[in-house]
Symmetry: C2
Subunit: 365 residues, 2 copies
């Protein structure tokens, strides 16, 4: 542990920003292709299976492998291991680069497989903090939806297939070597999903600024992220060229913000919804907001003003017909998130979040 109590934050090494920046992916990969046999693995969100994002850009050469990633469910450790095996099956030689093109899930798959290829073992062996021992394969992210911050964070989230634990490979080696932030790529995102995912950046920064573990650099990243979200979600169409660029920047900076800070009450409840009901992270956050007024009154009000301003429909009644077993499971998978709950409510957070209180909050969603 460092003497300041603040993490020694690891940045993405290179970031390339701009409309049309994906055209430079080929140049970046060419810099890694030293020998003729060097190949690249592309993990691409299956949304793009019939809409070739890379057409005309010469990024893919004959020995490369494209693996489409089904993003209907959040990734499990078995899924990550399966993806790694696909890479192994295609070639005995390590790839010279791994590229993740998609949202949080696809980027997380690229991060995890990159680490597994050089470190050996299975995904579940590295769930936790600083268990990865060696740098992974050179990895590149090209986000096609903004908000999660997966492009800039040191984790890749996955649910353990055996015990249901949702926990990432938290490691400096998980951070991307290169990211390409091309706002043209988020044009095709459905509006609701654009909002749900985008609000992840707003929400984790809002939680961070309301927490007890704060520092001036984390605060600066969070403040700027929130300001960008305000500008773009309150000012005209959130999906205009200018606003898509702003959200892409907010997502990146929001990821930087949590490098030295923690989330709060909302993310643990949202994680509960994802684990028990299989909801995607972005929409689960937005659903959780329904019960957050008492913890984050200002953020709560601003969130609904943004949703109204963009005319976005927010799901309701998700927890109306839950069984007792499900509620019990929801309590367990929420309360397990000790760090963020302590950040928000102090060490005695369980005195505030009693099983009864947690149930009441879920029923409000």
């Amino acid at each position: 542990m460092l003497s300041t109590g603040i993490r020694n934050a690891r940045n993405v090494v290179h970031y390339l920003f701009g409309m049309g920046a994906i055209a430079d992916l080929s140049t970046i990969l060419d810099g890694r292709r030293i020998n003729i046999s060097d190949s690249v693995i592309f993990f691409i969100d299956s949304f793009f299976e019939h809409h070739n994002l890379l057409e005309g850009f010469n990024a893919i050469t004959s020995g490369d492998q494209i693996i489409y990633v089904n993003t209907i469910e959040e990734p499990t450790t078995s899924f990550i291991n399966f993806m790694r095996d696909k890479v192994f099956d295609a070639s005995a030689k390590q790839p010279c680069a791994i590229v993740g093109i998609g949202g949080g899930i696809t980027m997380d798959v690229a991060k995890a497989v990159s680490n597994l290829l050089t470190n050996g073992g299975n995904a579940e062996d590295y769930q936790g903090w600083d268990l990865v021992k060696k740098p992974g394969i050179f990895k590149v992210a090209v986000p096609t939806i903004s908000g999660t911050g997966a492009e800039s964070t040191r984790t890749c989230v996955m649910t353990n297939t055996a015990n249901g634990l949702k926990l990432g490979m938290n490691s400096d080696f998980t951070v991307f070597d290169q990211i390409i932030l091309d706002p043209d790529l988020t044009q095709t995102v459905p509006r609701d999903q654009y909002f749900y995912t985008g609000m992840d950046a707003y929400i984790h920064c809002m939680e961070s600024l309301n927490g007890q573990y704060r520092n001036a650099i984390g605060d600066a990243y969070s403040t700027q992220t929130i300001q960008l979200c305000r500008d773009l979600f309150m000012g005209g169409d959130m999906m205009s060229d200018e606003n898509r660029a702003k959200l892409m920047v907010a997502s990146y900076l929001g990821g930087c913000a949590i490098a030295t800070s923690y989330v709060g009450v909302l993310h643990p409840f949202s994680a509960g919804l994802s684990v028990v009901l299989g909801l995607h992270h972005g929409v689960a956050n937005c659903i959780t907001m329904r019960a957050m007024e008492e913890f984050y009154p200002d953020g709560y009000r601003e969130f609904y003003r943004m949703a109204e301003s963009q005319n976005v429909r927010l799901p309701e009644g998700i927890c109306r017909n839950l069984t007792d077993a499900q509620l019990k499971q929801l309590y367990a998978s929420t309360i397990i998130h000790e760090k963020p709950l302590t950040n928000a409510l102090g060490e005695c957070y369980k005195d505030i979040l009693t099983p009864g209180k947690v149930k009441e909050l879920f029923l409000r969603m």
Copy 2:
């Protein structure tokens, strides 16, 4: 050149922030000391020669070398070569790390020597863009004054001893691998100097936001830097614990801002003052501001409000008794900065900045 026209920005790899963070320098260096013979070179601002910053922190071991850097004058290429020779004279073996503890000059010396040790040749061989071919020695910055952004930029500024050209080693390899941002270290800075250097962050971001080459990520960094400067220079004592922390963050983010953008009119004039009159960069910026009202009316007014709020004395009459030869030299060393002047005034900037106009502006300082 990339297709977006925006640079593929290179980040500092690790940043550690917090009051007292310098205590962790030893742990960070221990991670680089693999063999018993591995040594570290410390470049330390000579201000600290009789005030041992590292006392009690075990960062220095017996084989290490401390080189105090005289910061009375801005560095020249001969000075950098001389510093490199000092390292060579002390040991035939390459150091395992180079640490720069001080302000912009000391950090720039650390950057330049790190590159020269692995690339060979002299400092003047690398003045320009992307001339450095190999990564330098692992390098660490510990800023003890905030504002220049040297801790986060890809250049190290030096004046060519032979031809007077002020130009840095612009390279991704110039970027630090690790920086330690410890706001405790800026407690001893004289108030005027604290303001002059601090305003560098404000000024380069203000210029960037008023330029023609802009993009959403550069804008976000600039906006947050300016907001932090406003908060700290307008709100109470600029040197309170909280405000020193904010300025250290603003300096880092300001350096990030110019990774994808350019400065404007002020920096070229300021560079002229440094080259011809030998003024330090921070104070030269503040002097130049006297003539900038027509280019940056809002920034100009805000700058003087900040100076007034902090009761800082700004030098005046510096150019009162200049000779014609000096004025001619000032014109030449200002107008040479094509990129920033084009950013601010367009390609025909020489039609606006005629020799007569430039003289008039210098005389206003």
